[in-house]
């Protein structure tokens, strides 16, 4: 396992380099220079000042020199400073927003798992039945509904019309005066809608996947054997089939990371949740290039880490995988 982990970690190095190359290339597609945005809007900036800025950011040097310079700073975890008036380091801005986004995504992933795995299994065991057809249609509709639209509908009915749930932010205005349990309840009330909305679209994929996985396994010989030796159907499904069907789900979880992080842009900007998605959206709207570049790199690195965790989890659960890696 240690050997496998090391091998897997080494494999990440070229991927990390690739991520920096793509991020750098994307940001230098622009006609004109990133500093134009800072200076064009401000008539007081003289040509000399503009030139000084260009030299400060090294934008007058050849692209490859700029890239390696930037890479060198990244290696020391220096993502540069934001163009926003506060001029704070990009990494500080991102790291204070990251926990919110991670917590939200882990929570919605947990809900997706708790709902779609049982649904997938039951649908497979009674394939073609009413439950199977009803959940398929329902989840398909959820998959097709744009999350921002569901969010708007939710805000209107549960927020405006019924007044049950708050429609923006993570906490109420009087949050600081609340007791500890009150604070927790307040936070939970704010999280209900964003969590449910960000879960709906993810149900279809995983439950369908689990269903087809189970269907495949139910036909296998070893299940016939288990039944033949007189095990009750419940044990056959819950022990023999489920274990094998669950394995590939680990990989699917790893693969769903980029979608979740990308989706947080929409959910967080609608519900005014101070997470990475909202930060990135703001950075894009105000053309805060260092922050956009940092967000791109961090977003991709998070995906890479998600895949790493999934692969390690899979290797831990299935010895065949870690052995195969050395053949």
């Amino acid at each position: 396992m240690v050997k496998y982990t090391l091998k897997r970690l080494l494999m990440m190095i070229p991927a990390l380099l690739g991520i920096t190359v793509v991020s750098f290339a994307v940001m230098h597609l622009a006609p004109g220079r990133p500093t134009d945005m800072m200076t064009d809007l401000n008539p007081q900036v003289t040509l000399e000042a503009k030139q000084r800025l260009i030299e400060l950011y090294g934008l007058d040097r050849p692209l490859h020199v700029q890239y390696f310079d930037w890479l060198g700073r990244l290696a020391r975890l220096d993502f540069g400073r934001s163009f926003a008036p506060d001029r704070r380091p990009v990494l500080d801005k991102i790291s204070e927003r990251l926990p919110v986004t991670l917590a939200l995504n882990v929570a919605s992933l947990a809900i997706i798992l708790c709902v779609s795995l049982p649904v997938g299994v039951i649908a497979a065991v009674r394939a073609g039945g009413l439950f199977d057809r009803a959940t398929t249609v329902l989840f398909f509709i959820g998959f097709a509904a744009p999350s921002f639209w569901l969010a708007l509908l939710g805000m209107r009915y549960f927020g405006v019309e019924l007044g049950w749930l708050p429609i923006s932010g993570l906490t109420s205005l009087d949050y600081d005066q609340m007791s500890a349990p009150g604070k927790l309840a307040d936070l939970a009330r704010h999280l209900v809608m964003p969590l449910i909305i960000s879960t709906i679209g993810g149900l279809a994929g995983l439950s369908r996947y689990m269903r087809s996985n189970m269907l495949e396994i139910i036909r296998q010989d070893y299940l016939t054997t288990a039944r033949a030796k007189g095990l009750p159907e419940r044990v056959v499904i819950a022990k023999h089939a489920l274990r094998n069907a669950l394995l590939p789900v680990i990989t699917i979880l790893g693969l769903s990371v980029p979608g979740l992080i990308g989706g947080s842009v929409i959910i967080e900007s609608i519900y005014a949740i101070p997470g990475l998605g909202q930060l990135f959206y703001g950075a894009v709207m105000s053309r805060d290039y260092p922050l956009v570049m940092g967000g791109l790199v961090i977003g991709a690195v998070l995906t890479l880490l998600g895949n790493l965790l999934a692969d390690l989890g899979y290797a831990w659960a299935d010895p065949r995988v870690r052995d195969a890696a050395f053949k």
Binding site: L152, G259, T303, L304
Partner: protein, 276 residues
């Protein structure tokens, strides 16, 4: 596969048939938009702003007094165009890279597939937003960027098909007869790999339409005054309690469109699957 058998199998699936019917209807609506729309979609009429659905304005009017139904009908054109162009681009790139990787193997394959993995690392929403921010939002930029960030699935599919096909007897026979690489790829391998690509493309249109509507909702997609469903929802966001119709109908239109493409794609997959 025989076209007749395929159509018969596809027609047996009622959901898929309904999806295909709706997609067809959508094409008709966008084609006939100028005749179907009861009003000019861009005509501003402040005196009639935020009017609830009525005889004259069947689905009400928006904050500038524009007819919601007419904007929905014209918005269908944008969705259709974005879906087709973005997926066309993604499919072309995926076919090209997947075919090269699968056919030539070795270093070509390694490089292309590593690039594919790399692109899959980026949350596509982040990548798309970053590029749009640099290039200025416009319908063409949206279509191109969605296309450039969604070819990876097709590339992997085509590569897998090519690897399984390139050493079959019919390929070897063609090569023995002196066919060039290009001829083998175009005439012998590609036609056999098209079925899964067709499925992926149909599902891809659904994804592209969803992405475009999200971008337009965020104000980074197709720019006003062009009517798009995403932008109409963004407008409705500010009148949640005063004008419910603004936030209901455009979303319903997106939902139905995406759903029909998905149902049609799943139906195609089942009908083309030889194992069934």
């Amino acid at each position: 596969m025989n076209l007749k058998i395929f159509l018969k199998r596809f027609a047996r699936n009622r959901l898929a048939l309904a999806g295909a019917g709706l997609v067809l209807l959508l094409f008709l609506v966008s084609g006939a938009a100028p005749w179907l729309a009861p009003h000019d979609p861009d005509r501003v009429d402040i005196r009639n702003r935020l009017k609830p659905p009525s005889g004259e304005y069947i689905l009400g009017t928006d904050s500038l007094g524009r007819d919601v139904l007419s904007r929905l009908v014209w918005g269908a054109r944008v969705s259709l165009k974005v879906g087709l162009v973005a997926v066309g681009l993604a499919t072309a790139i995926g076919l090209l890279l997947g075919a090269a990787a699968g056919y030539y193997g070795g270093l070509t394959d390694g490089l292309i597939m590593r690039f594919c993995d790399l692109m899959l690392c980026f949350p596509s929403m982040f990548l798309i937003l970053a590029v749009i921010a640099i290039l200025e939002p416009s319908i063409w930029n949206v279509m191109i960027v969605i296309g450039l960030t969604s070819w990876m699935g097709v590339a992997r599919l085509v590569r897998a098909e090519f690897i399984s096909l390139k050493n079959r007897d019919f390929t070897l026979a063609a090569r023995a007869l002196g066919a060039s690489d290009g001829r083998i790829i175009l005439r012998h391998l590609l036609p056999n790999a098209l079925a899964p690509v067709l499925v992926a493309a149909t599902l891809g249109v659904a994804g592209a339409i969803l992405t475009e509507s999200a971008l337009s909702f965020l104000g980074l997609g197709v720019q006003p005054p062009t009517a798009t469903w995403g932008a109409m929802l963004a407008d409705g966001k500010d009148y949640l309690s005063r004008a419910w119709w603004l936030s209901l109908y455009p979303g319903l239109a997106i939902l139905l469109t995406v759903l029909s493409y998905n149902l049609m794609g799943e139906g195609l997959r089942d009908a083309l699957d030889p194992r069934q």
